[in-house]
């Protein structure tokens, strides 16, 4: 699904066990579409998801609006006793995590399988 005029982004969600879900972002995450991503994630949370893996393996671009959205989700999950992992971020997005220091806050994993295992503990 894409919004007219917004950066191209496919947002997909899937359940991966009791209270666990994967949110996959394929394309570009910027200020024009972070609200749509947040809405998809909050739907998962309101449906009982406590452990969330955000799959960034197909995320080609992200800016600080995307970072803000991720930190907001992490905060919300932690407040409700949940957890969040980031999986498969490409070098360009990883670089953004590093220069902002968010690699010290976000739990980063190589891929979704590893993230699900670690977040599910």
């Amino acid at each position: 699904m894409t919004d007219m005029g917004a950066a191209p982004l496919r947002v997909e969600t899937r359940l991966a066990g009791e209270g666990t879900a994967v949110l996959s972002l394929a394309g570009e995450v910027d200020v024009s579409n972070t609200a749509r991503v947040r809405e998809a994630a909050l739907q998962l949370l309101s449906g009982g998801t406590k452990k969330l893996v955000v799959d960034l393996s197909a995320t080609e671009y992200m800016d600080s609006a995307g970072l803000g959205m991720l930190v907001g989700l992490l905060k919300r999950l932690k407040e409700s006793g949940g957890a969040m992992g980031i999986a498969g971020a490409r070098p360009r997005v990883n670089h953004l995590f590093e220069i902002t220091g968010l690699n010290q806050i976000l739990a980063l994993y190589d891929d979704v399988a590893i993230a699900l295992k670690e977040v599910g503990r």
Partner: protein
């Protein structure tokens, strides 16, 4: 890297989040055209995006309807200016502190400072806010 004649490009976009992508894609295309390295092209794209996002998100009201993005390049550097008519903000205050789970601080400015070789922010209630960013050419 071949010699580059001075180049000037100006872009005016509506102050709307949907048009931030237009500015950043223009920045990336220009940087590529000017033969910046692939890493520098990515840095330039992101920095312009952050400056435009700042203009879209932190200017209150409807008095500012467009954003001016100006590029000037010569053999040594690419200068990018993002200008809006908003009242501006305190750059020192906005840039304070690293992001935490409680607050993101001036995340966009932090990104720009990390990626650019020079950054200058001028805020004036009369003339608006001007974010001037410079990326130097690296000799290959």
């Amino acid at each position: 890297m071949r010699a580059v004649a001075p180049v000037e490009v100006e872009l005016r976009i509506p102050r709307s989040c949907e048009f931030v992508r237009v500015a950043r894609k223009t920045a990336a295309a220009l940087a590529h055209q000017l033969e910046f390295t692939i890493h520098d092209v990515a840095d330039i794209e992101l920095a312009v995006s952050e400056a435009c996002t700042n203009a879209v998100e932190h200017v209150p009201g409807q008095e500012c309807r467009e954003i001016l993005v100006r590029f000037s390049a010569d053999a040594t550097q690419l200068v990018m200016e993002v200008v809006d008519q908003g009242p501006g903000f305190d750059p020192a205050e906005a840039a304070e502190g690293a992001p935490t789970e409680e607050g993101l601080g001036g995340l966009g400015l932090l990104v720009i400072r990390s990626l650019m070789d020079d950054l200058e922010i001028k805020c004036d209630p009369e003339t608006g806010t001007r974010v001037r960013m410079v990326k130097y050419r690296r000799r290959s």
